[in-house]
C-alpha cells in the first residue's frame, strides 16, 4: 500500500429500519456506512499537487466498498442506493476531502456491476466527532424518487486535526412508506445514469 495511505481506524455502522409511523412496511430497509480514519498527508500546509493521494486511495476505496457490501449481507445484487462523503480535520483543506470523489465513487460503481448513477456526496471541514449527512440516491438512475435519502454518520473523537474521515454508504432499498410518486426503480429505461 502507498506510503500516502495510513489508516488509523475503521468504523462500520449498520441500520435496520423495521417500522415507521403507520402500517407495517412490506420490506425491511438496511443502510450501512463504512468510515475510515486516515492520516492527512497534506495537513498543515498548502500543497499544490494533491493528485497522488487520489490514485493511492483506489485500493482502500475498493476495500471499504467490499466491507460495506459485507455489512449488508454480502450480496452486491441486494444494494439499491449509495452515497459518499468526507470530513477533513482542522489542519486540512476542503479540497483534500474532494480527493475521495473518484476512488470512492468508482470503487462502489465497479463492485455493484458498473452502476450508472453519479454517486451523490457531501463534504466538510470539522472537528473531532463532527457529523456528516451523506446523501443517497439509486445506484442506476439518480431520479428514482423512492430512493432519495441521506444517512447521518460520524466517528467519535475523529477527525483529529491531521486526519481525514472518508465515508461510503449503501442501502438495500426505498424509504419506508415511500409515497411521493415519480420515477420508480422498475421503470428505469434510459440507462444514462439519470432515468
Amino acid at each position: 500500500m502507498s506510503s500516502l495511505i495510513d489508516i488509523r481506524r475503521i468504523c462500520t455502522i449498520t441500520e435496520e429500519i423495521r417500522r415507521e409511523t403507520g402500517p407495517a412496511p412490506g420490506h425491511l430497509l438496511k443502510r450501512a456506512a463504512v468510515l475510515a480514519v486516515l492520516t492527512n498527508p497534506y495537513a498543515g500546509r498548502y500543497e499544490p499537487d494533491i493528485l497522488p493521494m487520489m490514485e493511492a486511495l483506489k485500493a482502500p476505496g475498493l476495500e471499504m466498498a467490499k466491507r460495506c457490501i459485507g455489512a449488508l449481507g454480502g450480496d452486491a445484487k441486494s444494494i439499491a442506493g449509495y452515497g459518499k462523503g468526507a470530513i477533513v480535520g482542522e489542519a486540512g483543506e476542503l479540497e483534500h476531502g474532494a480527493l475521495w470523489h473518484v476512488p470512492g465513487g468508482y470503487a462502489m460503481r465497479e463492485l455493484l456491476g458498473n452502476a450508472k448513477a453519479i454517486v451523490p456526496s457531501a463534504k466538510k471541514v470539522g472537528g473531532p466527532g463532527a457529523r456528516l449527512d451523506v446523501p443517497i440516491t439509486h445506484i442506476n438512475a439518480s431520479y428514482v424518487r423512492s430512493h432519495f435519502d441521506a444517512m447521518e454518520v460520524g466517528v467519535p473523537g475523529h477527525p483529529r486535526a491531521d486526519e481525514l474521515v472518508l465515508v461510503l454508504v449503501m442501502t438495500t432499498g426505498a424509504r419506508i412508506h415511500e409515497r411521493v410518486g415519480g420515477l420508480k426503480a422498475s421503470e428505469i429505461s434510459v440507462w444514462d445514469g439519470q432515468r
Binding site: 498548502y46 494533491i50 479540497e95 456526496s121 457531501a122 446523501p135 439518480s142 431520479y143 441521506a150 412508506h177
Partner: protein
Amino acid sequence: MSANIRKIVVQVDETLNEMGEAVSPPTRRAVAAAVIDNPHAGQFVKDLAALTEIGVELGDLLTKRCLAALAIGPEQAESFGKAAIVGEGGELEHAAAILHPKMGTPVRAALIKGPALIPSAKKMGGMGTPIDVPLGHKDAAYVRSHFDAVEIRVHDAPRRAEIVVAIAVTDSGRPHPRIGGLQKHEIKGEDGLR
C-alpha cells in the same frame, strides 16, 4: 395549502483565504431555510399532496432569498442543493414530499436554467439539528470543482410539529479546486450530466 412559516434564516458563507492562499474571487455559498408547520405531525396521512404544494412555494421563495443574499442575478448562480429536517412528530417521507415531486421546477425557473439533478439530503431531528446540504453544479452534475456541501442549523427548530426546509445556491466552486475532472468552462449543459 400555503406554508405557515414561523421564521426564515439566511446564511452566506464566504471563504476569502484557505491555507494561507487567497481565494479570488471568494467562494460564496448561500443557504436560505424556512421553518414551517408540519400539517401532518402526529398522524399517518397517506396522501402528501399538501406538502408537495408547499415545496413549490418554498422552492421559489428560498431560491430568490439565496440570490438576494449573494446580490447576484440568476445567470451568475453556479451550484445548488436542497434539504429538509423533519421534527419528531413527523415522518421522513414528509421531507420527500416537499423536496422531490415539484420543488425543482420553481428553483430552476428562479435560476433561469439548471438541467442537473438538484442534490438533496433529509433527516429527522430535534431543535438545533444541523444538516449538510449537498451541492452540485446546476448545469452539469459531473463538474468536479463544484461537488461540495454546506451545513446549516436553526437553533430553535424543528420543534416537534415543524419542518426545516433549506435551499443552497452558490456563485462559485470549492476554494482552490485542483483534482481535475470536468471543468465548468467545458459544460455542454444539455443532458444535466456534462
